[in-house]
């Protein structure tokens, strides 16, 4: 792509730009509160107060107790700490774990690692629209099940799981329930006081905060085993000097999100409808995941007889994803879409558009035009199946 070509960014599920208020807060903290929050002097206590304030902002967004958060480097670390930490904490009572086939790699690979350590994992199949029926989840739980992990919003399709029902089932069976909330927190209402969830992974950079900081919600009374050692910070569960500026930015991002959740959702729904209406009539087009009742910031579409890698290149300067960004170096078809019943070729042609606060109607118009043009070009290039 030409260096001077302006990208049209529709990959907000991969990451979001840092909100101006977040950047301003981080700069202020870098200048005035660079002290180690674990230091005993008064300046260190000022930094600790900044961290506490950020925990309060995050707690208000999620209707939780500020003491229920551990700061981490992001959702991947939170997932590792939650899943491995809970599985090992409870392994003397049982070694059976439950998760969904369409989880993010940052969850799938953790469970695979636990399988190699002797844990038994039940990998649940979703329905073709990506949803996990609560009765299927219930049937998978056994006497020796210790932990279940189900994501709230899928990063590839936007399908939203029924966390309320799944959590209630977990609670009734005494199974620790972990939720990967990387794509939901700050993007849709999440009320931890109402949700029967024990552990939730959160990251700042998906909600217009900085990269490199996240949190793990640990409900009061939930025990996990530490996975890192080297200091007494954060109840010895996650040692290391806290990045005060990143945490302050995370808190500010949560505060901004709390003020505009409903407006964001309304606006994104209108933009998603505009996008889908603009391409729906294309021959062979289909939506991956549910068309309704999904997170409105994500639209995943496939199209028959168009090659995915060429489609992505032909769409430039549109920045979208095939599969998930974490998987983008791989030429393998998306395992998430394969689990929904798509063929390799169908999965490979899938494009995930993910919209965000800065997305405009004009950008959607341009995206529609580029997608239609790219499909037409590649179909013109393609030969008939026989000579």
């Amino acid at each position: 792509m030409s260096a001077d070509l302006e990208p049209i960014y529709l990959d907000y599920a991969a990451t979001t730009p840092v909100d101006g208020r977040v950047a301003e807060r981080m700069r202020e903290v870098q200048d005035r509160f660079y002290f180690n929050p674990s230091s005993n002097h008064f300046a260190g206590r000022r930094s600790a107060a900044v961290v506490d304030a950020a925990a309060g902002q995050l707690a208000r967004l999620l209707n939780a107790d500020p003491a229920e958060f551990l700061w981490t480097s992001g959702a991947t670390e939170s997932n590792n700490l939650a899943i491995i930490g809970a599985a090992k904490q409870r392994q003397h009572s049982g070694r059976h774990l439950v998760t969904l086939r369409t989880e993010h790699k940052a969850v799938v690979d953790v469970f695979r690692a636990l399988e190699k350590q002797g844990f038994e994992v039940s990998w649940l199949e979703p329905d073709p629209d990506g949803r996990l029926p609560p009765e299927r989840f219930q049937a998978a739980l056994r006497e020796d099940t210790q932990l279940a992990s189900i994501m709230q919003t899928n990063n590839e399709t936007g399908v939203v799981q029924d966390i309320q029902s799944l959590g209630a089932i977990s609670r009734s069976r005494g199974v620790v329930f972990h939720v990967d909330g990387a794509q939901s927190v700050g993007k849709m209402p999440v009320d931890m006081a109402a949700l029967p969830v024990d552990l939730m992974s959160i990251t700042a950079h998906k909600l217009y905060g900085p990269k490199g900081v996240g949190a793990l919600y640990v409900a009061n009374g939930t025990a996990i085993e530490a996975q890192m050692f080297g200091g007494g910070q954060q109840r010895r569960l996650r040692p290391g000097t806290l990045p005060v500026d990143l945490i302050a930015g995370f808190g500010e991002a949560a505060a901004v999100a709390a003020t505009r959740l409903e407006d964001d959702l309304t606006r994104l729904a209108a933009l998603k409808a505009q996008l889908l209406e603009g391409i729906r009539d294309l021959d062979g087009l289909y939506v991956n995941g549910p068309e309704h009742d999904a997170y409105p910031g994500i639209l995943n579409v496939g199209i028959e007889d168009v090659e995915g890698e060429s489609l992505l290149l032909a769409l430039e300067p549109l920045c979208v994803a095939t599969g998930s960004a974490c998987n983008s170096q791989s030429q393998e078809p998306s395992y998430v879409l394969r689990a929904l019943g798509r063929s390799d070729i169908q999965a490979q042609s899938a494009i995930r558009f993910s919209l965000g606060r800065q997305t405009t109607r004009e950008e959607i118009e341009r995206a529609v035009s580029l997608y239609r043009g790219a499909v037409a070009k590649l179909r013109d290039l393609a030969p008939a199946r026989t000579a």
Partner: protein
Amino acid sequence: MIVDPYNSRVREYFTNPMHCGDVAGGAIGYFEDQGIRLRLSAAIDGDTITRLRFHAWGCPHTIAAAEATCRRFEGGAAAELEDFETGQIMKDLAVPIEKTGRILVLEDTVRSLGQAIRDLTDT
């Protein structure tokens, strides 16, 4: 670090595939394998390939390789099709090693075209 998987030549050929199309009534080479489909068609005058066109379904490297092949052989002698070298295409287009099979499909298509031209000139 993720680097751009396409060099400038792949981008140019993919963006401007000026040899995309068909030669009506021409000799045809066609192959379908490795998840790609390739078709070459050529007009011949004596021993000269006067027009060479392609259709391709596949990744950007596949499309660029088909365009590069047309640019290389159009205007030349049909016998030169025998000189097709996968190594040169792989090098010019910086084709990743895992896509070698696709360039071999192009080689099969070029050979199939060469055979079709011979069949046409023999009759």
